[in-house]
Amino acid sequence: MAGREITRHLLTRTEMPVTLLLHESGKALSRPRLLRELFRLEPTPPLVRRIRLVRGDLTKDRLGLPSSLYHELAQSVAGIIHAAATTRFDLPLAEARRVNVLATEHLVRFAGRCRNLARFGLLSTVFVSGRRQGRILESERVHTAGFVNTYEQSKYEAEALLESSGVPYVTYRLSTLVGDSQTGFTSHFTTPHQALRVMHLGLASLVPGLPDYSVDLIPTDWAATTIVSHFLNQSPAGQVVHLVAGPARSYSLAQVIDESYDRLGELDPAWKARDYPKPAIATQAAFQLLVHSAEQARDPLMIGVLGMLKYFTEQFSYPKDFDATNLNGADAAPDIRDYYGRVVAYCLKTKWGRRA
């Protein structure tokens, strides 16, 4: 999600040539189609000429590229933004590591061969902090608090690998992305969107966490603008930047539930008439018992609903306040109150991606 917006931003706000390393699964995409479908841009000839498409696989040696191409790229690349990742929370650790750690290892190896490399940017997550609570500094990574899911752990390990690589890196730890602040658009319907869908289906029962937990959500357009601007400003290597909204611009857990129901009710009167109760905010123990019961009952729908929530909502029991010193005067993230309604509207309009 962030990778697409960053690329879109590079193409629309700068003049620089962009090489896109795409997975084999994107093989069929021509440059014009790619511009139109992935980046929502009109494929004008100058824009098409600025893009170079390379098909590869980060999980393979030499990025899955022919040797000649690998070496040729190493001569020309001046900056790398590593936005390829799996953001699924429910993968087995080995699979999450394969995509998020091994791919980083291969790309870092490639970066080491890039003579002109000025900066390597890694997109990561503020939740590498795992089960830690309290103030989380950008300058800290190492902890022993454990992780809520394999995504957090694999990103933590990818950061560690980059730190020790000798490559001139910047790590961008993103908070949870929810879509475009102006349109609500999202290319991926991730866990927050799916949680909203569960509420819309009337299947939200318990949400584990603390009612006043600050649910930090950021819009994709702001994240892309901020990352590109920071990346191009040649800030010192070895920096970690937290991209967060902060408590003042975020809803609490209780508020985000209330706002979700209010927005859904305004936008969908038929749904409102169903009078679904809001989920109760519960302890982890209560929620885990409910999950266990659904699993024992072998109810596929409830297993799906609760399973989706269980890999994500555990964070709501570990309140955090993220330091954002290294944003260095960049515009603050928009307040969720100003755009959450657009996110909800987009989800409803597209039926969570089932209707283009």
């Binding site: 289906l201 009337g202 299947l203 939200a204 029962s205 318990l206 008439a273 169903r274 009078d275 679904y276 109760p277 809001k278 989920p279 109760a280 519960a282 302890t283 123990a285 209560a286 018992l289 409910l290 019961s293 024992q296 009952a297 109810d299 729908l301 409830m302």
Partner: protein, 319 residues
């Protein structure tokens, strides 16, 4: 200590009857009367299902429970102004098709009043509140005895599933049972402190909305319980005992966690011993709690249940 005012009302006497026949979970599984595994239902706290062999026997259970409650109360028949019969699953449902139209006017509540010799009581039947039915009947009865002349009302309830019917509803093992309650003005025990019912009629189509009902259960239960406690001018720690409906122990564990009520204050023994009886659970539990001596005068008791329809109902008593 409760002080029964002249116009206060409460549950003075309770009685219940269970069928003689009961089946273990394994036997119910063998006769295809439960869908889930024996292990799973066992983990949810169930052991048995009580089964009435014949519809006529069920009538005897209702009658026996009612007679015992009246006898224990020491009230004369003339002092009982109202008879409520709550039954959501009447085993005497008249046949459709060619049956004479008059068949539909053979009222079980009139028959019960006749057999109890309650010739002056206003006899009324209630249905369609599922497991909330008896608590609603008690609430109505309390209002009547508080405002009317006769000082007592009798609430009788019971349900029996067809003998070979499926006995698992939403992962609960169902038993047949009958229960009776005398509600009296100035009752020396179990004064009604508050009654709170949250209705969600949008959930009326239970089969179609089964999963939505399961999802709604806990948040609505929390709201109904907290509202009743607040209405009573109490706080949750003031509740000495949760008198549960005998739905799964797992659901009570979750609800207890949600409310911050320790399992030790939820009297859950009868989930294993009896199972879930639609609407008689609270009476059965009150009676057994009393027999076991766990109730102390002045204890606040919270009775809670969910009923299809849908409603979430809390009744707070002071013992």
């Amino acid at each position: 200590m409760p002080t029964a005012g002249p116009r206060s009302a409460g549950i003075s006497h309770v009685a219940y009857r269970l069928p003689k026949s009961r089946k273990t979970l394994s036997a119910l599984k063998r006769s295809k009367q439960i869908r889930s595994s024996v292990t799973f239902l066992g983990e949810l706290g169930f052991t048995y299902g009580y089964i009435t062999e014949e519809p006529d026997r069920f009538d005897e259970l209702l009658l026996a429970a009612a007679e015992e409650a009246i006898a224990d109360s020491g009230r004369s028949r003339a002092e009982i102004g109202t008879l409520f019969l709550y039954s959501g699953l009447n085993p005497h449902t008249p046949a459709s098709g060619g049956a004479a139209i008059l068949e539909r006017f053979r009222y079980p509540v009139a028959k019960l009043a006749d057999r109890l010799q309650l010739r002056h009581a206003n006899a009324m039947a209630l249905s369609q509140q599922g497991c909330s039915g008896l608590l609603s009947a008690i609430n109505l009865a309390a209002r009547l005895v508080q405002t009317g002349d006769p000082p007592a009302a009798l609430c009788v309830a019971g349900d029996a599933l067809p003998k070979h019917a499926n006995r698992e509803i939403m992962y609960n093992v169902m038993s047949d049972a009958a229960a009776a309650v005398v509600v009296e003005r100035g009752s020396p025990r179990n004064q009604i402190v508050s009654f709170h019912q949250l209705g969600q009629p949008a959930y009326w189509d239970s089969p179609q909305r089964e999963r939505e009902l399961i999802a709604a259960y806990f948040p609505m239960a929390q709201r109904a319980i907290c509202a009743a406690v607040e209405q009573a001018g109490l706080r949750l720690p003031d509740i000495r005992w949760i008198v549960p409906s005998n739905v799964s122990l797992r659901s009570w564990t979750i609800l207890g966690e949600l409310l911050g009520i320790p399992a030790s204050r939820i009297w859950s023994k009868n989930i294993a011993r009896v199972g879930h009886t639609v609407c008689c659970d609270h009476v059965i539990n009150l009676r057994d709690m009393s027999r076991e001596g766990v109730l102390t005068r002045g204890d606040h008791l919270l009775l809670f249940t969910f009923g299809f329809g849908a409603s979430w109902t809390s009744l707070i008593l002071q013992h």
